[in-house]
């Protein structure tokens, strides 16, 4: 915040200086001119933000206090939808199950992605032949459309003998039983998490690689001269140097992982027996697919929103301040 303000006045000061030092006479009063230009240049952006984000956002909050089906009339029910979700007979058990599943899903995915991503980043940061090509290949999942990733893995993990994993087990490992990855309630969530990790790791690798490259190499040289071994250098230089990159990556990734619906929609639809029901999927099931209860579905999203406010707040501050430094 402070940094941003400082850099703003820096920019402004520069423009102001140019204005006062060279009064060409052609220039109109700077305040009026920039106001008009500023507002007309940002008008389309503001329209998009208001019409497509702010309006739906607030109408979603209003909706969560209403009983409304698709195409039906809305009636005001106060906190009825929230009470239904939190304590009601129909939804309470599935809602609390969704809280549990969403937390496991997000926490495990983010943690493993961070570990894999860090390992991958450390490896491709070393010098070796073909490094650029291997980087490009390792980052490929990031560039592949999510829905295609999900469908492909649905096929890899297929419970019949035709799915790649079962086929491999039978052909090469002599397995005699098939594993039902996606239709077994005890396995489905873990199977989906594996896929999320597969696609999400490259993002971590790229972010952390950028972080590694930003650490000055003379720090390592100095530490080597002081007799620090590889492990000490990793602990004393790499980890502290990477902390900002790790923070940003984990925050962004937590928001997006928790909210992704594509993997679960294409692989399990929240099943079997709700074992993979994360909250966007629950909102979809209640609002669009099954119940068509838009009000209750909106309440699901609103209930989960506070979890993200903190992350969004920290990220906004960070992104604005790093902009100021540029």
């Amino acid at each position: 915040m402070n940094k941003t303000e400082a850099s703003d006045s820096g920019h402004g000061g520069g423009a102001l200086g140019a204005d006062t030092e060279h009064p060409t006479g052609k220039r109109k009063p700077r305040f009026g001119q920039e106001w008009r230009l500023g507002y007309s240049f940002t008008l389309p952006l503001v329209l998009v933000l208001v019409a497509l984000v702010a309006y739906p956002f607030f109408s979603g909050i209003v909706l969560s206090f209403q009983n409304k089906t698709i195409g039906g009339e809305a009636t005001w029910v106060g906190f009825g939808n929230y009470a239904d979700l939190l304590f009601g007979e129909q939804y309470a058990s599935i809602f609390w199950n969704t809280v549990r599943v969403s937390l496991i899903y997000t926490f495990v995915s983010v943690t493993v992605k961070l570990v894999f991503g860090l390992l991958m980043a450390l490896m491709v940061n070393e010098k070796f032949r073909g490094r650029m090509l291997i980087r490009a290949l390792l980052f490929l999942p990031w560039a592949t459309p999510t829905i295609i990733v999900a469908l492909t893995w649905r096929w890899i993990l297929d419970g019949s003998i035709n799915g790649l994993v079962n086929l491999f087990r039978v052909e090469y490992l002599g397995a005699e039983t098939l594993i039902q990855f996606l239709s077994d309630p005890d396995r489905a969530l873990w199977a989906v998490i594996v896929v999320v990790i597969w696609q999400g790791t490259p993002f971590y690798t790229m972010m952390l690689l950028a972080g590694l490259q930003a650490i000055p190499s003379d720090q390592y040289e100095a530490a080597s001269l002081d007799g620090a071994n590889a492990l000490q250098r990793f602990r004393d230089i790499t980890i502290p140097g990477l902390t900002p990159a790790i923070t940003i990556t984990v925050l962004l990734s937590s928001i997006w992982t928790a909210n992704s619906i594509n993997f679960i929609y294409a692989m399990t639809r929240g099943g079997p027996s709700n074992s993979t029901m994360t909250f966007p999927m629950l909102a979809y099931e209640i609002g669009i697919a099954g119940g068509r209860q838009l009000g209750t579905a909106a309440a699901v999203s609103v209930l989960f929103f506070p979890l993200f406010i903190v992350a969004i707040y920290i990220m906004t501050k960070r992104m604005l301040s790093s902009e100021g430094q540029n």
Binding site: G12, I134, R318
Partner: protein, 294 residues
């Protein structure tokens, strides 16, 4: 014996271990680790390709991991017997139009937000970031209702409008971070020469950031090309479906037509993957700016 052959290492009685310690990282752990990660990363692509060129018999009856017979029947099927061509065209129109609209909005807004002084500038910049970070899944229920209200359903143009939600904040934010790297002395010099602020946008900012803007455009294109959730919510007519949605047409109930599905997946992945390879060297630096969605 070891000591005899290497007398200089008297102080270290285990030269093999010493060699290992010095070179283990580069000659064993690194190649091994990279090989494991490469196999882990690439085997799904092998499976897509293999499935797409196997006859149905080798997919479903006598399944084998490696293709035994080669066929293009699935590719023929998706072009001749499905609406894949329509989906592909729709996706291209939606992604290109979204990108052009978002870029036009982003360039002007980013210029104003980085170089013009007006009340509310901070607030607009902040809101743009918050919007970029707010996940679509928190908004999709009300947006579904709004789209119904304004008749944005069942049309690719409605989809283009909805896609501005994420493409505009995203491209604005990225453009801001590039415009910030343009030295303000350059603009000051142009202003001294009598250029107006509007002209300096076209004569300095856009030309200087052209490669960067191209990358922003490519990413916006990719995000729009890949989008699935809103297409699923808003489109039901076949003639308006985009590829991600169209691919799910090969799933009928519990029956998955894996051959055509994998053939279609391969073709649908090509545009974003090509974009990624073209712009690869900017990806890491763009990410470092915290601007690209993971």
């Amino acid at each position: 014996m070891q000591n005899a052959t290497l007398p200089t290492t008297d102080h270290n009685p285990h030269p093999v271990r010493r060699w290992l310690r010095r070179n283990a990282l580069h000659s064993i752990i690194l190649p091994l680790g990279i090989t494991i990660f490469l196999i882990w990363t690439l085997f799904p692509y092998f499976w897509i390709l293999a499935t797409s060129v196997k006859p149905d018999r080798d997919i479903f009856v006598n399944a084998t991991i490696f293709p035994q017979r080669f066929t293009l029947e699935h590719y023929r099927y998706i072009f001749d017997s499905s609406d894949f061509r329509v989906y592909f065209r729709n996706s291209a129109i939606v992604a290109v139009t979204t990108t052009l609209a978002a870029m036009a909005i982003a360039v002007f807004a980013a210029y104003a937000l980085t170089r013009l002084r007006f009340v509310g500038r901070e607030f607009i910049a902040r809101t743009t970031i918050v919007t970029y970070l707010i996940p679509a899944s928190l908004l999709f229920i009300p947006l579904f209702q709004v789209a119904n209200q304004f008749n944005l359903t069942d049309s690719i143009w409605g989809l283009v409008i909805i896609y501005l939600i994420f493409s505009v904040p995203f491209s604005t934010w990225m453009t801001i971070s590039y415009f910030n790297t343009v030295p303000s002395e350059l603009q000051d010099a142009a202003l001294v020469d009598g250029a107006s602020k509007v002209r300096s946008l076209f004569t300095i900012f856009i030309p200087l950031s052209l490669p960067a803007l191209a990358v922003v455009a490519l990413f916006t294109f990719t995000v729009a090309w890949n989008e699935f959730l809103f297409a699923l919510l808003l489109i039901s007519r076949d003639s308006q479906k985009t590829i991600p949605l169209g691919l799910t047409e090969f799933v009928r109930g519990d029956t998955y037509q894996w051959g055509p599905l994998m053939a279609g997946s391969l073709l649908a992945s090509l545009p974003p993957v090509v974009v990624y390879f073209v712009s690869q060297r900017w990806v890491v630096s763009g990410l470092a700016g915290g601007a690209i969605k993971g």
